[in-house]
Structures are given as C-alpha cells and as structure tokens.
C-alpha cells in the first residue's frame, strides 16, 4: 500500500500534514518561525522544539527518546541559520497504530520512528520552513532464520507481515536525505555487519535510488507506476502546488 498524505488541512497551525501508512496514522503540525523564549534563544540559529504525543496517555521517556532522535535529524536539514532567534515548534500526534501491533517482538518506538520522520518532513514542507534537503525514512526487519539459510529482510513491513515472520531478530530504521546521504540509523536486536549492510542497501533503494530499483514489496505507486519514496514525496508536493496554482487555470 502506498502511503497517504494530506497537507495543510489544519487551520490554526502554520503547517500541517497527516501521514497514513501500514495502519499507522500520524497528524503533524508546525508553528513557526515564532517567538522563542528568552532562555532557549540562540543568537544565530533557530530553536527546534518537538513534541511527540502518543495515541493514548501522556508522554513517557519513550516519547522523549523519539523526540531527541527527531530533533537531531530534523535539525540537520532545517536551515536554522536563515531564521535566527526564532522557534520552530513541531507537534506530532499519533492518531492510530496498527491493530495487534503490540504483540510482535518489534520495538514499538522503532517501528513508529519512520512514520514520525515522514510526517515531520511533510509538515515542514507545508509550513514552508527553509530546508537544505528533504528526507525519506523506512523500517527494515530481519526475521530469525530457522534453518541455516538466511531469510530476506522485510521492507516497510505491516503489522501482519511481522506477525507472520516472527520471531524477528533485528529491526532497523534508516533515513536518507534528498541527496541520498544516510541521515539516521537506529538498529535494535542481534545482527551481523553483512545483515546491516544488506538492510541499509534495501532501505536506500526504496527511499531514493533511481528508477530500476526494486521498489517497495507492495509497491509505492503513483499513477500506476512503481516509484521510490523520494518520487512519492515529489508527487505529494506536485499535488500541493497544483492546488495552490489552480486559480490560474480556473474559468
């Protein structure tokens, strides 16, 4: 299933997006650039504030950890020096999680991370915050092999995929910039360097490799043809521009 995105659908926030993929749905909003509190003000850079809010309950250390990861990754793509002494405030509200997602042995915050990253990027695009590049992110899971033969890693697996492939030995989250540089990697579990390398290459392929790559298992499709996440992002932005420019062609 291709991810679904809605941009700029909230009225109050400066930028907003809802990103739905594999049973996960996250609503994101950006306020900014706005006034920063004196104690957080930086003379030459913008301050970034990220709130991750779980679907149920209030934030726990798990969310704080995700916030730190997001903060470091997004900080590297936001042109913070072009909007000094301001605050960019990103709120990510998890709306729904896949059913039965908690019964698998995959670290739940790791499985959520790519969805948060994708949502955050879409909201930043919607808010027109200056960025040096875009990013795409994906989860790779490596199931434990029962025989000596290694099993192919699962790319952007759904909750059902993970359930069927149990036990999972390791999970990896990768994020790539628009110019195909690795921005973030978080891995969990037991794995060899070769396995990690394979997972990384697979992730790169779905995120940003040129056409001719494998594409997602289920296929991210735009207008019927398989594309990688980078091209998917481009199609989302194209739709945004079409909506903004439709007055030019309106009768």
């Amino acid at each position: 299933m291709a991810p679904e995105a809605h941009l700029s659908h909230l009225h109050r926030a400066d930028g907003s997006a809802t990103y739905t993929h594999n049973g996960y749905s996250v609503i994101g909003a950006v306020n900014g650039p706005i006034e920063v509190q004196r104690r957080d003000e930086m003379p030459e850079e913008a301050t970034l504030e990220i709130h991750v809010r779980p679907a149920a309950g209030i934030g726990s250390p798990k969310e704080r950890h995700l916030e730190t990861l997001l903060h470091n990754t997004l900080r590297s793509i936001i042109l913070t020096r072009s909007i000094p002494r301001t605050l960019v405030q990103i709120t990510l509200q998890v709306r729904s999680l896949p059913e039965g997602g908690t019964v698998t042995d995959v670290n739940t915050s790791l499985a959520l991370l790519p969805h948060l990253l994708q949502t955050a990027l879409l909201t930043l695009l919607s808010a027109s915050i200056p960025l040096s590049t875009t990013l795409t992110s994906v989860l790779v899971a490596i199931p434990a092999s029962k025989s000596s033969k290694p099993i192919a890693p699962l790319l952007a697996p759904t909750a059902d995929d993970l359930l069927r492939a149990r036990p999972i030995r390791s999970t990896h989250v990768f994020a790539f910039s628009g110019n195909r540089k690795l921005l973030l990697n978080e891995s969990h579990g037991v794995f060899t360097y070769e396995e990690w390398d394979e997972a990384c290459e697979m992730a790169e392929e779905v995120c940003c490799k040129d056409k001719g790559g494998v594409g997602l298992n289920e296929g991210v499709e735009v207008d019927g043809s398989q594309v990688n996440l980078d091209e998917w992002l481009r199609s989302v932005v194209k739709r945004k521009v079409e909506v903004e420019q439709r007055w030019r062609i309106a009768p």
Binding site: T134, R246, W247
Partner: protein, 242 residues
C-alpha cells in the same frame, strides 16, 4: 514573468537553463524567496513550490502559498498595536512573533507634541522597512522621501478577514493577480479595503452587511480558487444579496 511548470523540493538545484535569460548583461541575477546561492555556482531551493522567473528583472523565486508570513522590506502589512513604549508602538505582524516597532513619529504630520494615540489592539496599515532578521522588525506609516502617508496609518472601524498569503499577493499585484472581484463589486458598492501581505484583509463597507459581503466574497474567491467567470457570478450573487 514566466511561470514554469518546474515543481521544486527543498534541496533541488536549479539548472542554469531554467534561470532567466538576462536581456541586460549588466543586471545581476536576483534570487527571491525560497532560493539560495551556494558558492561557487549552485542555486538551490529551500522550500516546496513552483519556480517563477522574470527575465526583465533578471529574477527568480519560488512561489508557494502555505506557512507563516515572514516580513520582507517594502511589504505592506496590517499590524496590531500591542503596547506603546516611550518612542514607539510595539506591534504584532503575525501572532506569537517578536514585536515589530512602529515609531510614534512615523506617521504623517506627527511631531513630538502631536503624536498619534493608539490604544492597544488597534490596527495599523503600515510598511515594513526592516524585516528584522538580525534584530526586531521595523515599520513605518509614512513614505520617507515625501513624508506623506500614502494611504497608510491607523485603520478605524471596519473588519478584518483572514486570507491566504497568496491571495494577499494577488490582490496587491493588480491585473496580474487575476482578482477582478473587488472592481466588480465597486461598480455598485462603495467600500474601502486595505490589503496586508501578512494575510489580512481589512474592509469597511459602511454597514455590517456590506463589509461582511465584501470580506466573505474575497475569502470565497481565495478558498475556491474562482476564475474570472466564477468571480463575475459571485459579484452578481453578492449584489443581489444586498
């Protein structure tokens, strides 16, 4: 001005062939919002939008219509007075941003003895003279060369309506913006408007009904992206309603 069909994502570099062809070699290339120059000779976008070039002015920029208003020198904005300091008013251009300063003397005919009295939360139509990237934004209500207000100053009465930043640009762009609604309405209806680049439209139509009708009609053109025909129909509908 040429609107290309090049949709840009942040980080996309602009190929030299897409840049405007200068008619006048002496004129330097000007980069507008959403573009940045990375030495030695890469030009890349920083926001998502449409690449627009103007070969007459030898300029290129990214057109977009989402996000918060960022002050730029020369822009007309409708600001809200928050407090009055010793020498200037502290104004808000958009909510939750640092105060912009509007000197007491930056009004037509204002002197130390006859400075304008503006209560908190009143509206002023003013021009940005300094976007305040390195300090706070500065505003003025006079043309510095003539000392005249040129239509700027406190806005009394009327009502403000929120419009998109793109709509505000179009309304100020005259014919190029493709908004014929106000002209159409003005044939039968007398009203005053002020357009702020910060996405604020001020309307005073003399009566509640007329003000609301004009304000809401502009919002409708904005939200539904009405073309020329659509706007004509809307004008008729509004005038019939009054």
């Amino acid at each position: 001005m040429a609107t290309s069909s090049t949709v840009l994502l942040p980080g996309d570099s602009i190929s030299p062939s897409a840049l405007p062809k200068p008619q006048n070699r002496k004129k330097h290339l000007t980069l507008g919002p959403g573009l940045r120059h990375m030495p030695p000779n890469t030009i890349a976008s920083t926001i998502a939008g449409l690449l627009v070039t103007d070969s007459k002015k030898n300029a290129a920029w990214v057109e977009y219509n989402s996000g918060r208003y960022l002050p730029a020198a020369g822009d007309l904005v409708i600001a809200t007075v928050n407090t009055s300091g010793g020498e200037n008013f502290n104004c808000l251009i958009t909510p939750n941003t640092p105060y912009a300063s509007l000197p007491h003397l930056a009004f037509e005919g204002a002197t130390r003895k006859t400075r304008p009295q503006l209560s908190s939360n009143s509206l002023v139509y003013c021009r940005v003279i300094n976007p305040g990237k390195d300090s706070f934004p500065e505003l003025t209500c006079v043309d510095p060369s003539t000392g005249k207000s040129e239509g700027l100053g406190p806005l009394k009465g009327g009502m403000v309506f929120k419009i998109s930043l793109g709509m505000a640009r179009r309304l100020l762009a005259g014919k190029k913006g493709g908004v014929t609604l106000l002209e159409g309405l003005s044939e039968k209806l007398g009203f005053e408007v002020a357009i702020g680049r910060n996405g604020v439209l001020w309307v005073d139509g003399g009566s509640v009904k007329a003000t609301l009708a004009v304000g809401r009609a502009v919002q409708e053109v904005d939200e539904q992206a009405l073309g020329e025909k659509g706007q004509k129909k809307l004008v008729e509908k509004v005038l019939r309603g009054l």
